[in-house]
Amino acid sequence: MHEASLAGGVLQLVEDTAVREGFSRLLSLRLEAGQLAGVDVRALRFALESLAPGTVLEGAEIQIEEPPGQAWCMGCAQTVSIAQRGDACPSCGSYQLQPTGGMELRVIDMQVSDD
């Protein structure tokens, strides 16, 4: 359940931004957790919801985007889609794949109110 620690990291980022930007209320928060980032998105959402009460996250809408896993296939010399590490290349069946996308784990942006 490292998602709980990650949710703590998200809260810290939002709190730091609140101090820097001086907003009073968080309306929505957009995150990115790639398919190959080693994160269970449902667990991350659960952790954020558990953490929210009494913090700046309370009442905010949380969107978690899941960029698809992508890898460079050595055999096909092209970028292919994979759902998880250890998957075969969907076009040639080889495992000589180098993940190139879907490893993101970021806070993208947020909508805030100054009221």
């Binding site: 359940m1 490292h2 709980a4 620690s5 990650l6 949710a7 703590g8 990291g9 998200v10 809260l11 810290q12 980022l13 709190e15 931004t17 609140a18 101090v19 930007e21 001086g22 907003f23 009073s24 209320r25 309306l27 995150l31 980032a37 080693g38 994160v39 953490l51 009494g54 913090t55 700046v56 309370e58 009442g59 809408e61 460079w72 050595m74 010399a77 092209q78 998880q84 590490r85 250890g86 495992y95 000589q96 794949l97 180098q98 993940p99 784990l105 970021r106 806070v107 993208i108 942006d109 947020m110 909508q111 805030v112 109110s113 100054d114 009221d115």
Partner: protein
């Protein structure tokens, strides 16, 4: 564990961010209501069209950024002290501590004078640190409490503890130090999932898998084996007694990580330990002489060159087609 950053809850770093939370309570007012927007509650008491009080803030910030910054500090710190740090990861019971004890004993003969220290991560007890200390090597136990992994701030504080409790080698290092090299083993919490995500500032992650576990573990826990530079197959002395297909295990590990290095050994009988000691020599050499990059890094670079050449060929082909049309 503190859920804010995963630090140990009684650390100085924790005291700092607890203060921060308390300080922010006055600045950040959380509306406990239903989420309705109430324009005009600002200082002007009026909503001006075109001057919306709701605004967007672009962050694009790595969620693990705070940990990774401390990990980079650790890495620089290790470098400055001539320390090669290895992050040992595995499921519970793979024999990490037994391997470490055997390694420390073997290094006494293989590399006399080499300083070896250990940071032991477990949820509870100091059993493992006690076993390491019995070999004569300094060890610091980090109990994570409810935490499932070590993080960079924990390692930073444990490393500071190692130094303050190891006066001899500390003075030695800053006084008339020898070649200054030392090894730091960081034995992570037994867990094949979470530690994959946390950079501690190590030179490499070493995944240990014992033959009493399933040979399909690399595929079941791909993130860990993808993050590791070396996989050690431990307890090979038990191979005659268990159903474990070594070739299949290696194939599955290479499937998730084509450049992973693999060693087979038994910490109990000592079989295969020489290759491991040699790997450690190389890790220390590569770490301290930057022209001598680790083999797997070279392999990764070669693959990258292949990729780029392939992309170049494609782009050139596309260009040719376009100019012909």
């Amino acid at each position: 564990m503190c859920v804010v950053c995963g630090c140990s809850g009684n650390s100085p770093a924790h005291a700092r961010h607890v203060q921060t939370h308390a300080g922010e309570a006055g600045v950040v007012q959380v509306n406990p209501g239903n989420g309705d927007l109430h324009f005009g509650a600002g200082a002007a008491r009026v909503s001006v069209p075109g001057m919306s009080q709701a605004r967007a803030i672009k962050l694009e910030t790595d969620i693990l950024g705070a940990n990774n910054r401390v990990a980079q500090q650790n890495r620089a710190h290790f470098e400055a002290h001539g320390v090669t740090a290895l992050n040992l990861v595995s499921s519970p019971g793979s024999g990490k501590t037994t391997l470490l004890c055997a390694t420390i004993e073997a290094l006494k003969k293989h590399a006399p004078g080499l300083r070896v220290a250990v940071i032991e991560g477990d949820q509870q007890t100091s059993f493992d640190a006690d076993r390491i200390r019995a070999t004569g090597a300094p060890a610091i136990q980090v109990n994570t409490g409810k935490g499932c992994h070590l993080d960079a701030p924990m390692v930073s504080e444990a490393f500071a503890q190692l130094h303050s409790h190891d006066h001899h080698s500390h003075d030695h290092h800053h006084g008339n130090h020898d070649d200054g090299h030392s090894l730091l083993f960081i034995e992570n919490v037994g867990n094949l999932v979470c530690p994959a995500v946390w950079d501690l500032g190590e030179a490499a992650k070493v995944a240990i898998l014992s033959v009493t576990e399933g040979e399909d573990k690399p595929l079941k826990y791909p993130d860990m084996f993808a993050a590791a530079q070396l996989m050690i197959l431990n307890k090979t002395d038990l191979l005659p007694h268990v159903k474990f297909d070594v070739a299949r295990c290696i194939a599955l590990a290479r499937r998730v990580n084509p450049t992973i290095e693999i060693l087979q050994l038994s910490a109990t009988t000592g079989e295969g330990m020489d290759a491991w000691l040699h790997w450690l020599d190389h890790a220390m050499g590569a770490h301290h002489h930057h022209h001598d990059e680790p083999v797997s890094e070279e392999a990764a670079l070669r693959q990258r060159v292949q990729q780029l050449e392939a992309e170049l060929a494609q782009a050139q082909a596309a260009l040719t087609t376009r100019s012909a049309a």
